[in-house]
Point group: C2
Chain length 459, copies 2
């Protein structure tokens, strides 16, 4: 018995013979084989893959990531491709075919058996974000009037040993969903009992039109690992498993984070994204933000006379506007995430607004006080001379910070809600976006307060 690590070591040394015998090693999990393949040159992968018995090929194939699946398919004979594509579980098949575009997609679809081709075609018709894209159309059904003994016999003859048999579905004569029964209940109850006796009466299900977001919520709310999917007529169409939903959730979170960081979300993992598309994904938002930030130059232009008169005012510009950006980005983070995990909804806006105004006030006073003390200390300790009117300058900084931090907090918390209200993704109100907005308005707040406090002295 050879361990995966030994195989890995041998391969590192250029000896791939052990790889060719992988197929006979029963105790290596297909997911580990797939991981190994991810690290190998495609030729060695293909060599080893082709030495596997057909069934093992299908299992290992299903664990490969999509890019590698496509590479492997290109290297296989047509017969082998046809075999694998048709034996894949329907959700894996859909996922793979979905990644092809145009002519390539038609070519792949041609390799499918009629039944699979039709099912795939149907599912591709649903929007990208719907559960239809995650559906597995293999499932095990029984009828409610069977005894457990009879049901077990039926399942033994009609269903293969696959994950989809972890939950058995009770359907009526027309195929409409009656209830779901975890397969353990067929073991844990007296075989003489009737199926209808072990049904529990509540059957959580997804609608084929449900979004994947809604599916995530249902899985979590009911602590399920697999849920049936029905259409409006309650006809059982397939099942969705939690691992696919977890993938979707992780992708959603990745997208949210990337948006929040001011990047258009990547289609592929970072390491698989080309440099060109990496730059493209970032350039869009960066340019928009840059154009927005140009208004700071315009705003500063309006205050050029003030700056000329009191250059000392300009020293605190980065400090003051960035405080608004930081407090705004904090507020946006909290609100965006709370909305994503459904802790907050739009109707809570007034509650959020009150809390954020108060938080902003408290935080603003805190930073304002620190700013005031900083100027006082530097002046008194002769570290820097802010001129005769340094007390007025310190007061300007104090009040400007209160105003700007409150404004930042308020914008950061309300913009995500406003975006949601208008059907946009709240995560679009990224940290850089909020910061840019607050930079521009912050300058106006700062110079306006300065104009009031310093009129007749510095200005």
């Amino acid at each position: 018995m050879i361990s995966l690590n030994e195989i890995r070591k041998k391969i590192m040394k250029g000896d791939i013979s052990s790889l060719l015998h992988l197929s006979s090693e029963k105790n290596i999990h297909p997911s580990e084989v797939a991981k190994l393949f991810n690290e190998l040159p495609i030729d060695s992968t293909l060599n080893a893959f082709q030495s596997f018995p057909p069934k093992k090929q299908v299992v290992v194939f299903s664990y490969l990531d999509i890019l590698l699946q496509k590479k492997v398919l290109r290297g296989l004979s047509k017969e082998r491709s046809i075999y694998i594509l048709n034996k894949l579980s329907s959700d894996d098949r859909l996922n793979l075919i979905n990644s092809y575009k145009g002519v390539e997609r038609s070519h792949i679809l041609e390799l499918l058996e009629d039944k699979n081709k039709k099912a795939t075609h149907d599912m591709l018709g649903f929007p990208k974000e719907s559960v239809a894209r995650l559906i597995n159309t293999e499932f095990a059904t029984i009828s409610g009037d069977m005894t457990i003994e009879k049901a077990n016999e039926h399942l033994r003859t009609h269903h293969v040993d696959s994950e989809t048999a972890n939950v058995i579905y009770v359907v009526d004569a027309e195929g409409k969903l009656v209830d779901d029964i975890p397969v353990r209940r067929l073991v844990l109850n007296d075989p003489k009992k009737n199926i209808s006796e072990i049904m529990d009466g509540y059957c959580v299900k997804l609608d084929i039109d449900d979004s994947t977001e809604e599916a995530v919520t249902k899985f979590r709310e009911y602590d399920r690992t697999v849920l049936p999917v029905t259409n409006a007529d309650n006809l059982l169409l397939g099942v969705v498993t939690i691992d696919d939903v977890m993938d979707v959730q992780e992708m959603r979170d990745t997208r949210d984070m990337q948006k929040f960081g001011g990047v258009e979300s990547l289609e592929f993992p970072y390491v698989q994204t080309t440099l060109f598309s990496l730059v493209k994904k970032r350039a869009g938002w960066l340019i928009i933000l840059f154009l927005g930030e140009m208004f700071t130059a315009t705003a500063m232009g309006h205050f050029q006379n003030e700056i000329q008169k009191a250059v000392v005012l300009s020293l605190f510009i980065p400090l003051i506007i960035s405080s608004g950006g930081n407090s705004g980005s904090q507020a946006a983070t909290l609100i965006i995430r709370a909305m994503a995990v459904k802790e907050l909804s739009l109707r809570d806006w007034w509650y959020v607004m009150r809390r954020e105004i108060l938080s902003g006030l408290a935080l603003g006073i805190l930073l304002g006080a620190i700013g005031f003390l900083r100027i006082t200390a530097w002046q008194e300790l002769h570290i820097y001379d802010y001129g005769a009117d340094w007390r007025l300058l310190a007061s300007t900084v104090f009040f400007a910070l209160i105003g700007i931090v409150m404004w930042g907090t308020l914008s950061g918390s309300m913009i995500p809600m406003i975006l949601k209200k208008f059907g946009q993704d709240p995560a679009t109100s990224s940290a850089p976006f909020v910061a840019t907005l607050v930079d521009v308005t912050g300058l106006i707040i700062y110079f306006s307060i300065a104009a009031i406090i310093l009129k007749g002295t510095l200005l």
Copy 2:
């Protein structure tokens, strides 16, 4: 049969009688009852809860969130509390007891039966982030030499119908784990077969010392919904289910996002966090960032003469330093997330650095060009007069943007990796943190380039 919506409506009108009959409504899922309770005053909740039969109380209780669980416990008689606490699944019990501190925790522990008390005590000894905290110590075992028929009989008499029976564990005479068998295999195979014949030889398991992060990775890698947990001697200690792991993952992502937004991560959901602690969680980072950003005032102080001579230079300060912050926050987002989902590791630093320097160069040239054009256009169209040396000013902005965007991109991508290298959480390199760093250094870059280009003219 009354629907949940009707009950909700009645309650809104002050009629809680229907609530008291909830227990007889078999077709309402306990998770829906729990959701309803979350929206009700605690008195109505307690009233309804106490009208439930004991078993139903346990199920509904397990779906309540922890804060509500604690409130309900306070309202129940001691006998009832003892019953519920001891009937809870061990992971739910641990989770609840873990939320109590000090004396309160001792009081609750006193209510447990000896067996449960000991198990809870043991698990509380493991670190917060280990799988021991998620473990469920109820599980179903059989031995490899049984026939399927015999195993089914054994399970029927020794195990209750609970989620933990979805996978059956084969153990040897000492309780050491041999293999895991999905319960469906007991149904789908000939009852005369031996258990050893239906074992597949690979058994994925968690170690009791594994971190929850490692558990998440294993669940995803092997597409499992439940995994056994063993100690170093391979003794089977319990099982961990995917829903608990999903909760942990969601919390991790929430924490990452909050850190990235520059907030100390909240212990409770936003809506359950008091205003005071909301301010406290934000104040820490905000003050640190403010102190950091103070260096901008110091840096600006050094360049006060330059600003005095060429006030026009100050107009572009916010624009230029924010571009560095934005590109840095983009880079940090991409790298932090790629590390969190294990697409990148530390040894990839050189690969990342090269890519990010090139990306930064491309993005810097792009923004620099836009900045150059903006100044040229405003000058030529007489929108604003930047003086006779406006071409030199535009060149300064062009080169400063290239330098600062490259620097921002590089800092944003490398700081998370450096933090990780020193055992810190990469997400600590929040967007505001990177922005602050780049603000200070950005000013120095800007004025240095200005000194070179404008020497003898404006400066």
